[in-house]
Symmetry: C2
Subunit: 356 residues, 2 copies
């Protein structure tokens, strides 16, 4: 189907139009086509397409360049497509409204209406954020054409309730293998029950106290959870193995290596295998570009606890924050919605920052 986007619509209306072009991860083609046609009409932007990812840049030769980025994919529909207005158009509900068609609408409005910004701006609209990293448009861009992401500061328009969220926590998954010795349950004292032994792992988890370090002025809140447990051979056999999988969410004052060391030390009585790890990102709000941004949009920044693509910019050496309309807590739920007032407010504040 051929979709046309009217960039003269206001932020909330444009959010509805974007929401109603289905773009579940891997199926962003029609939306990327519509965005490409709309952006192509803006003479002050130079446009590059990479897969279903679009990069639109002003080329004004300013001393500073900032990046505004948002993903265009959504999680699968859950009976919540297309969008619906609620109240007196105070809310728009539907899949992807908060996460993050509203943010994309704000990016588009800024791209279409600010032809002479006070700093050079790179607008990135990228694919496949909701699925595994190998397909993530920002990851592919960083790998294949990192120059397109150059800048001194980046804003991800992820839903943050209109508050600046700085940095992000890292995430590590590890499996802890508790062993035992098999025996028939009729003579269980001939064996050693691995599931019973795993109680000691759970005791450590239950007794664990989360760190809440303050990093660059923002307070983080760590988490350590069993996310899976498996054990058992047969209904009459004392099991010889029980595997507990844990997920450690660590504050950005720890590196991935330090997080790994910490988990190995905490469970040093058992073999520990690291399944995956993604480093966090310090908020970096003391960097001049970030401080200027916070001053311009106002409010009290808070720590981002989940992992976001902010960490990807951090790896490229670019300080980044989350700042966008929408509520992250209801993202991925059938009842997802966005407050229209937040869309308008985010656009106004970002416009002030870029045209002040």
């Amino acid at each position: 189907m051929h979709h046309d986007l009217d960039l003269h619509l206001d932020g909330p209306e444009l959010t509805a139009a974007l929401t109603d072009i289905a773009s579940v991860s891997g199926e962003e083609g029609p939306l990327a086509d519509a965005l490409e046609r709309a952006l192509r009409r803006l003479p002050h932007l130079s446009l590059t397409r990479h897969g279903n990812t679009l990069v639109a840049r002003t080329e004004l030769g300013k001393s500073e360049r900032v990046v505004l980025a948002g993903h265009i994919d959504t999680v699968p529909h859950a009976g919540n497509f297309p969008s619906k207005w609620e109240g007196e158009r105070t809310r728009l509900s539907g899949v992807g409204t908060s996460d993050m068609k509203a943010g994309v609408a704000v990016q588009l409005r800024l791209a279409a209406t600010i032809d002479a910004p006070n700093r050079d701006v790179t607008y990135v609209f990228y694919e496949c954020e909701e699925v595994n990293v190998e397909r993530n448009g920002l990851f592919l861009l960083a790998r294949d054409a990192p120059g397109l992401l150059d800048g001194s500061f980046a804003v991800l328009l992820e839903p943050s309730g209109g508050v600046v969220e700085g940095g992000c926590q890292g995430t590590l998954r590890a499996s802890i293998t508790v062993d035992g010795a098999r025996a028939h349950t009729a003579r269980s004292w001939m064996g050693r029950n691995a599931i019973h032994q795993a109680g000691a792992v759970l005791e450590i988890l239950r007794g664990w106290t989360p760190r809440k370090p303050v990093v660059d002025g923002l307070e983080y809140h760590e988490g350590l959870n069993a996310v899976a447990i498996t054990g058992g051979v047969a209904g009459n056999v004392v099991p010889d193995e029980c595997v507990v999988t844990v997920n450690y969410r660590f504050a950005p004052d720890r590196s991935a290596q330090q997080a790994e060391d910490y988990i190995r030390e905490l469970f040093s009585r058992w073999p520990v295998a690291i399944l995956d790890v993604a480093p966090g990102a310090r908020p970096g709000l003391t960097a001049p570009a970030a401080a200027a941004f916070v001053a311009a949009v106002g409010g009290d920044p808070r720590a981002k606890l989940g992992w976001t693509d902010v960490a990807r910019f951090a790896e490229l050496g670019i300080p980044a924050v989350n700042y966008g309309p929408g509520i992250s807590e209801i993202a991925h739920t059938p009842g997802e919605y966005v407050e229209t007032a937040q869309i308008t407010a985010a656009e106004r504040r970002l416009r002030g920052w870029l045209s002040g």
Copy 2:
């Protein structure tokens, strides 16, 4: 294939011949055919076939009738078929040698050579003991023709190392469901981790002290084990459910209902579902027929800890014991074997009991 059994062979040789007729559960036909032809030639026995189960009875009008029973199936082969002699024919190794072709050989030798026993004897050769109960030949016989199992006492020639094993423990499986509340692991304090909570179930299991009650003079030894544990939703989700499956092996001074009540009480903080339960059997060695048997074969009886078809006779109101050549601990292992001396000894003692 057509097999012929020579009942003039001695016990160990007959064990080898029986072992070399494959009879994995469900495939006992050829062995049952061979047994039927051999037993048919014995004029002092009346023979009934039920599926692949054979019942051969003396009909001498004695005041007492005893049952000698053994299953003719084996677990699947594990590179240990056919049988092999070891040492100076001191051992016969192979699948089913201990469990329980040796016992079947002893039954056959007694059936063939004692034409005027001092009590009426019912020899039962039954199918499918190693698989689920609905296919068990003794279960089917008890259901369809219970009169064929009549008697005042029964001996199961299961491997017991030539020691009389009395009664058997019951077995019960139950699942304990621990609940929690889902949350994203980045904000785990919004949820309640069911796997962590399950640590309290494991604590009860680790701290549990087995009862060792003496029942009718024999000491039992209970067991309570987690045999499975499952929990987990996804790598980034605090799980809202963890299920622990336990197996309780209970001494025969407790009924199935008492065992169930005990488990529900022990884990009263959580929903408990009883998955299956099989009652045990008291040893009943004080009954006259049993006492006479123990006096005749000698040795110190011990408690049977595993569940066996002894419990099935108990349900029919017939006191029963295990007594046979072979070692139960190595049954079902690739290295299964039987000592030839045990075969000869068991035959001699049972002959003394039936012809004294």
